[in-house]
Amino acid sequence: MWSELRRLRDDVDYGTPPRDGAPVSLTVDGVPVTVPAGSSVMLAATSCRKSVPKLCATDTLEAFGSCRVCLVEIEGRRGFPAACTTPVEAGMVVRTQSPRLQELRKGVMELYLSDFPASEVPGGWSELHEVMAATGVTTSPYPTGQNHLDAPVDESNPYFLFDPAKCIVCSRCVRACEEVQGTFALTVAGRGFQSKIVASQGERFLDSECVSCGACVQACPTHSLVEKSLFEGGYHRAQPPQA
């Protein structure tokens, strides 16, 4: 376990935690790669510099498989398995790029952007923005419907804020609070469209069990949880689009 933590690299996000198992060889986009057993297909792809887009995965947290942008094709398997939750097997042949995959990822990203402030697409530098660039999707074709764009911002913590308008409920913050910090202050409340990140029993961050360790802010891929120190003159959220 401890030696796995030491395999983390600052300039790489393997997407899923490094493992310590026996070597397993496979090919990703025609490139042979060998990784420890127990590794994910995503880690194998990242190891040979094949970047699979991802939102809910990061290598300090166990795989979760909720965002659906890391879909890949594996020879001999039906469907499009998520690279983060699929463990490597010897001789596996993985394809990370194909017209069909591109189409699927585009569809997923368009859904995310249908409930994301359009005014914050340009100029952003979060992981979500990186995936937008990688998939070439920056707008949503859907008409404005129900959304979270006017959900209130929680600025109670002195150091970071939570803007639910930018949240994609990938649960990285919830899992960081559990797996990395061990405080279990955050959870996803509600189901389906209603689901949202809450601290404790729906309290403000400052009033919750949150110990302000910053693991959730570190984990957030959309700058929904973000350091206040990065904003000059306070946080002014974008105006929701007029219906």
């Binding site: 030696s3 983390l8 530098w125 150091y159 910090q181 360790c213 904003f231």
Partner: protein, 707 residues
């Protein structure tokens, strides 16, 4: 703009707060630090952080920072801003005048564990080549000096036996007198991770801390002992281990002296240490002591982490030896997942301890009285050195009150707030003719200073820190020093002003000097640390890349020693006048004397020190939650707000010392560890009384009167 500003520059450095020593990337925009991001390759934190290191960095350019050197002739005069040259000339002239008048030994220096290894090394060099005496001490005197003494006596090395990650292979974790989830939060998270994986947890602490009892971290056995009974309880655990033959005979025969073990067995096996005898004295169920002892001995991999709750006692060193003995008896040393590990308070306490900032020792714990060692320093420094050990910090203050100690150079320490029996420290400060303080702010201690040298925060200088696992990591300059000089440069200039020529181009040359003069640091260098990210000492020809786990094949002295650890109760006793025991500690959001964290947003969680007490003690005194109370001991008095807390046992009260105005150390005693003078912060007999409501207090307006 709704999107956050993107930082322009990032520098990997080491957090200066607690002894975990997390790696961080300090990010800047326009030359100002805007964000601290935990470094995934930091071997102490693996990308995790806590509220202090991650967010509480605003202190560094707070308006209270002093940016110009200042002097004054008397402490009732206003400060006068001067140039650096004037400040050094003035300080040196005063020190020389005082030495000429009162003798060479009338001056001394104290180094800080918030400074780098290189700066600490220079402070002891200042005393030895500048003052030409050994009156140099460091602040670990008042926290972990018993660790150095107790672990050296038993295991041969006064430092943690493991690396932090080793806890992920432990089956049993014994936490004694420490509260890692608040005091060492990032290590606390690692510990909780292992507990979630099924490791068993034993806690020895008078309070029901978060470590002992919280939803995701609950002790299998919590020994909520009466403050001051550590040694009795640990000896009683040893009693169970020897009486029930739970010890590891093969390990003892191979790695220790069997005859010493037999002597020790005779001591702790005595009926006076039976749980049935110790239990009532310590306020514990004897069966809990037995259970804890059995779980620890059974392991198979049991590890010990301890803090100031073990060391800050009149038998602090004995307590540390008890832990060393326990690990030896059960064979819990020399492999992964076991060991004995101090949790250090300040970022560089281990460095403070290693770098020769002691009145009796050079770097690497070698005695100034040892001629061969002294000669090696004399040859390198080309100056004759004083063979007589100097004064310890508390002795300096005692001598000041007695009129024989007249000047002190204090680097980054605030003894007026942090040291025990505050009234005594204040008297000592007032009786000195020249107090030189090098700090970021005008601290409580600076109120008594004649020369103020504005120091640099850890974001403003280069150097290294040694964390609680012996890990030496880089501190890198992120912004230019606000007052123009890095702390090591200030001390070099002080040494020069005292008449000793000295020059370094870069702190790496200071570490090279340390390596040249100290066996454990032999192979250490900036290029090596740059290449490996961090290096755990010992680092030498046998271990060119450092050592993660100590004592694997043998102990530094060959075999380890069982020390006889007879329980001698502290003379600080409760009586009718002072029926409660006060113990002190820390909370998550504040750090030490609070000079840094009080100047950050962390006050949102904790804006004042409070007195925690049990409901029954409160009710007996008519105290309600939130009342102002006086806390009186045989040494002094202070006022705090009371908080009724389920964490306390009846008869025990608790506070922190993060805020100057609460004067917690006006109350603490001047008793100290028999071996090292480490103050007994953890046990003071007190009485608590409600402050009578002031008659002029505004009357509450009846609700109906408003309409």
């Amino acid at each position: 703009m709704p999107n956050p500003r993107k930082p322009e520059r990032s520098v990997v450095t080491t957090c200066a707060y607690c002894g975990v020593g997390c790696g961080f990337k300090a990010e800047t925009i326009g030359g100002r630090v805007v964000r601290m991001i935990p470094w995934k390759e930091g071997k102490a934190n693996h990308g995790h952080s806590c509220v202090k290191g991650r967010f509480a960095f605003d202190y560094y350019d707070h308006p209270d920072r002093v940016r110009k050197p200042m002097v004054r002739n008397r402490i009732d005069e206003p400060w006068r801003e001067v140039t650096w040259d004037e400040a050094f000339a003035h300080a040196a002239a005063e020190l020389k005048r005082i030495q000429a008048t009162y003798g060479s030994g009338s001056v001394g220096a104290v180094s800080s564990s918030r400074c780098t290894n290189e700066e600490i090394f220079l402070m002891q060099k200042f005393a030895r080549v500048g003052l030409r005496n050994n009156n140099i001490d460091n602040c670990s005197r008042i926290c972990h000096s018993p660790t150095q003494f107790g672990l050296s006596a038993t295991l041969g090395a006064g430092a943690a036996s493991q690396h932090f990650d080793s806890i992920l292979q432990a089956d049993v974790i014994l936490v004694a007198g420490a509260n890692p989830t608040e005091g060492h939060p990032v290590f606390g998270s690692l510990m909780k991770r292992r507990i979630r994986e099924g490791a068993r947890l034993l806690v020895i602490d008078p309070r029901r801390t978060e470590t002992a009892d919280s939803p995701h971290c609950r002790a299998d056995v919590h020994l909520a002992l009466r403050p001051g009974t550590n040694v009795a309880v640990l000896d009683s655990m040893a009693h169970v281990i020897v009486r029930e033959r739970l010890y590891d005979e093969a390990f003892i025969r191979a790695r220790c002296h069997w005859s010493e073990f037999e002597q020790w067995m005779q001591l702790v096996g005595d009926a006076r240490y039976a749980p049935e005898t110790v239990g009532p004295e310590a306020g514990l169920d004897p069966e809990d002591i037995r259970r804890a002892a059995r779980i620890y001995a059974k392991g198979p991999r049991s590890t010990i982490y301890y803090g100031l709750g073990v060391t800050e006692h009149s038998q602090g060193s004995t307590g540390v030896m008890c832990l060393g003995n326990l690990a030896l008896a059960c064979g819990m040393l020399g492999r992964e997942g076991v060991g004995v590990n101090p949790l250090r308070g300040q970022g560089n306490v281990q460095g403070g301890s290693c770098l020769g900032s002691w009145p009796h020792m050079f770097t690497g714990y070698r005695f100034v009285t040892d001629e061969a060692v002294r000669k090696s320093f004399e040859a390198d420094w080309k100056i004759a050195l004083d063979p007589e050990p100097g004064l310890r910090l508390p002795n300096m203050f005692d001598a000041a009150v007695a009129g024989t100690f007249k000047a002190i150079y204090i680097q980054g320490e605030d003894p007026v707030q942090s040291d025990p029996n505050q009234n005594h420290i204040v008297a000592a400060m007032r009786s000195m003719e020249c107090v030189i303080v090098q700090d970021l702010y005008l601290t409580e201690t600076a109120k008594f200073a004649h020369v103020f040298l504005p120091g640099s925060s850890s974001l403003e200088k280069n150097g290294t820190f040694t964390n609680a696992e012996r890990r030496v990591s880089m501190v890198r300059k992120v912004v230019e020093p606000l007052a123009g000089l890095e702390d090591w440069q200030i001390t070099v200039r002080m040494i020069n002003a005292m008449g000793y020529p000295l020059h370094y181009d870069h702190p790496s040359q200071i570490l090279d000097e340390v390596a040249r003069l100290s066996p454990a640091y032999q192979g250490m260098s900036f290029p090596l640390i740059e290449r490996l990210g961090s290096v755990q000492w010992p680092c030498n020809a046998d271990a060119p890349e450092g050592t993660e786990v100590l004592h694997e094949k043998q102990f530094p002295r060959g075999r380890a020693n069982f020390m006889l650890t007879q329980y001698v109760p502290t003379t600080e006793r409760t009586d009718d006048r002072f029926p409660l025991l006060l113990t002190t500690g820390r909370i998550l959001s504040q750090y030490n004397v609070g000079t840094q964290t009080r100047r950050t947003g962390n006050v949102a969680w904790y804006a004042e020190d409070v007195l925690d007490l049990h409901r029954s003690d409160a009710e007996a005194r008519g105290i309600q939650d939130g009342d102002q109370v006086t806390v009186t001991s045989r040494y002094g008095e202070t006022k705090l707000r009371a908080r009724i807390s389920e964490k306390m046992n009846p008869g025990v009260v608790y506070t922190t010392f993060h805020f100057a105005q609460s004067k917690a150390n006006a109350v603490t005693s001047d008793l100290s560890d028999w071996a090292t003078n480490c103050p007994e912060y953890k046990v003071t007999a007190v009485e608590v009384a409600k402050v009578p409501a002031r008659t002029e207090a505004p009357q509450r307006v009846p609700a109906e009167a408003k309409s």
